[in-house]
């Protein structure tokens, strides 16, 4: 039994059952991934729905990123479940009062939507490959074409209507899915650290910045790998979006924290003890300082100075990497932090994630790497760059 459990030390008084933290790094990865889905989809939609033509070079790439992350979203949850083989119980017999009960349906709906949108976006490519390729690949593309090889202007206009509709449905879909993840935490009255009406909003906006940052990093990386120059106007629009959404996220987070402190309900003493102690490095230094204020200052400087060329690319990409770190830390500080503050409001649990094991850092790292591997495959099957070149 001892080998199966990972009990944490504590200070003050915590309930005896609280020494084993129920939700671990896998549940940190879960909202992080759904956030990346929503953020990348936002970039795709800014082009697809709102006509941000500068984003054309990354629009389809962002859609693929969103799809790859979304396909991985159920994995950390399944790994975390005590009985993953019973996961479908929640869908077969959903307990409608539970915020979790809707997840299976919402995730399934959104995966279908993303797959459909991806199919419409890459249909001309699929048809072309189905006609050109032979062997297994040819068969694969022919199956993917679903027997439809009409790429006439009329058919394309019809596809565009579908794309527009799917992108429009996808916006509330993606953002709803992630806002709902925020609701799962925010609606729990048992934990003061989570129990906030602003939690869904904070989750949503931090999702948008993380997804935007991921698209920036992967786009620049892909340009380097493909040995093509980075489209600076596209990069700038993404940087502007990142800047705007970051400002908003920081403000909301600040308001949320200020409200918590100002309300000063029972347990605020131990929360302040937590904030001034264990939270200093993960929150103030990593999430707030290095991951938010610094990149915000860098992007502000770049915009203000009108920097261009390599300096702009390096500055924005570096900032985006830090933002990705900040949002990961935000998820960690919310999910793990909330459980480190005891329900007794008289003590703190000190959780140190194990490296190995099903709920260890290594497993979480592998889960985070899976969308990247998927993306490497999908980018080869459905090159998202061709339209930009055309």
């Amino acid at each position: 039994m001892e080998a199966l459990i990972h009990a944490s030390p504590f200070t003050g008084y915590v309930y005896p059952n609280e020494t084993i933290v129920p939700w671990t790094v896998l549940i940190v990865v879960y909202p992080y991934l759904t956030g990346l889905v929503a953020g990348a989809f936002t970039i795709s939609s800014l082009y697809q729905v709102f006509g941000f033509t500068q984003l054309r070079p990354v629009a389809h790439f962002a859609l693929l990123i969103s799809l790859c992350c979304m396909l991985t979203v159920p994995l950390p949850l399944l790994l975390h479940l005590g009985h993953p083989e019973r996961a479908f119980n929640a869908m077969i017999t959903p307990h409608i009062t539970s915020a979790f009960a809707i997840f299976g349906y919402a995730a399934a709906f959104y995966i279908v939507l993303l797959v459909l949108e991806t199919w419409f976006v890459f249909r001309p490519h699929i048809v072309q490959q189905a006609q050109q390729q032979t062997g297994v690949m040819g068969w694969g593309y022919r199956i993917l074409s679903l027997g439809s090889d009409d790429v006439s202007d009329k058919a394309m206009r019809y596809d565009q209507k579908w794309l527009f509709a799917l992108a429009i449905i996808g916006i509330p879909g993606a953002h709803g899915l992630h806002g709902y993840v925020g609701f799962v935490f925010g609606s729990l009255k048992s934990r003061e650290w989570w129990s906030s009406d602003l939690m869904p909003v904070i989750f949503l906006f931090s999702a948008i910045i993380s997804g935007t940052a991921l698209v920036i990093v992967l786009y620049v990386l892909s340009c380097k790998l493909r040995k093509v120059s980075v489209d600076l106007s596209c990069l700038k629009v993404m940087a502007y979006s990142l800047w705007g959404f970051m400002m908003f996220t920081l403000l909301i987070e600040g308001v949320e924290f200020a409200s918590l402190v100002y309300r000063g309900r029972e347990g605020i003493d131990v929360i302040m003890e937590f904030v001034k102690g264990p939270l200093v490095v993960p929150f103030f230094i990593l999430q707030f300082g290095v991951g938010s204020v610094f990149p915000l200052a860098v992007i502000t400087f770049l915009i203000w100075r009108g920097t261009g060329g390599t300096a702009l690319v390096i500055g924005i990409t570096g900032s985006a990497i830090l933002v990705l770190l900040a949002v990961l830390m935000m998820r960690y500080n919310v999910v793990i932090g909330g459980q480190e503050i005891s329900k007794t409001a008289r003590g703190l649990v000190a959780y140190h994630p194990p490296i190995f094991g099903r709920e260890g850092l290594l497993a979480a790292g592998i889960v985070l790497a899976i969308p990247m591997v998927l993306l490497m495959v999908l980018v080869r099957l459905f090159p998202p760059w061709e339209k930009a070149a055309a």
Partner: protein, 282 residues
């Protein structure tokens, strides 16, 4: 033997549901009706719960309404209840899994807030004879103690249980006779309920990979016995009975004392009633 394994009213429901679903797939639209009729999601409602009564011979759960009382004035912190519970319910012996526990509140002279510990505190573990047997260390023997008392804790079997609300599958539910139980054969082990309980009453059972908690020894009370912790308490600090019976120990306890419940502000409406607690009790 764990009554969660025996008491499986949902099993029948699920079999019904699945067979309904099977025919529904064949019949098309009937599936929706089958789902809404047979889903355990509705088990929390009295009508559906009544239909799912477990087949315990000679027991009619509609005739009972169980309640629990704790007289903290009487508790001596001997922890027999904790040990008995672990043995009776096969709870892991380590100091991280408890269906019931006892808290010690000690206010020293000159201090405003009580110092709180329980049997899982490392100092108390060091003073305990072996794993599964617990003692409170005499850690305040040289201090000027102004006030000290013990408070036994357990699942509150709330009227509006937050744990039942958040369960995505309906594996945890409230029985007709007022007990919150978990169907260990249906729980997916997501631990959302562990998070939702404001009292820290739930834990994860690593042996079965499901969540676990106090059931008021449902396997005993449905046979006319007392819960194990009540049975072994040498001072009568724990009181249990049927609230439908006005002469039962719990009815008398509530009637004759000014009782309180823990954290009423959560809206959970607990069904464990306390006497002799203090402002510091959480």
């Amino acid at each position: 033997m764990d009554e969660n394994e025996r008491l499986e009213p949902h099993d029948k429901e699920r079999r019904d549901f699945l067979s309904c679903l099977g025919s529904a797939i064949a019949c098309g639209a009937a599936a929706v009706a089958a789902n809404s009729v047979a889903s355990p999601a509705t088990a929390a409602t009295p009508a559906a719960a009544a239909a799912a009564e477990p087949g315990i011979p000679g027991y009619d759960w509609s005739k009972h309404q169980w309640g629990f009382g704790v007289d903290a004035e009487k508790c001596i912190g001997c922890l027999r209840c904790v040990e008995a519970c672990k043995k009776e319910n096969n709870v892991a012996l380590d100091p991280n899994h408890f269906r019931t526990w006892v808290e010690r509140y000690v206010t020293l002279q000159g201090e405003d807030k009580a110092r709180i510990d329980s049997q899982h505190d490392p100092v108390n573990i060091a003073a305990s004879p072996k794993e599964g047997e617990y003692r409170f260390a005499n850690r305040y023997k040289d201090a000027n103690v102004e006030k000290a008392f013990f408070v036994p804790k357990l699942c509150n079997h709330c009227t509006n249980p937050a744990c039942v609300q958040v369960c995505p599958t309906g594996a945890t539910y409230k029985t007709e006779d007022g007990v919150v139980v978990i169907d260990h054969t249906y729980c997916i082990g997501c631990q959302y309920c562990v998070q939702a309980c404001p009292y820290g009453a739930r834990f994860f059972n690593e042996e079965k990979n499901v969540t676990d908690k106090c059931t008021w020894c449902y396997h005993r009370i449905t046979k006319g016995l007392q819960p194990a912790c009540v049975e072994v308490c040498p001072v009568g600090a724990r009181v249990f009975g049927d609230r439908n019976d006005k002469q039962s120990p719990i009815s008398q306890f509530i009637q004759n004392n000014r009782v309180r419940v823990l954290r009423p502000e959560t809206g959970n409406a607990p069904n464990v009633f306390y006497v002799g607690t203090d402002k510091d009790v959480i």
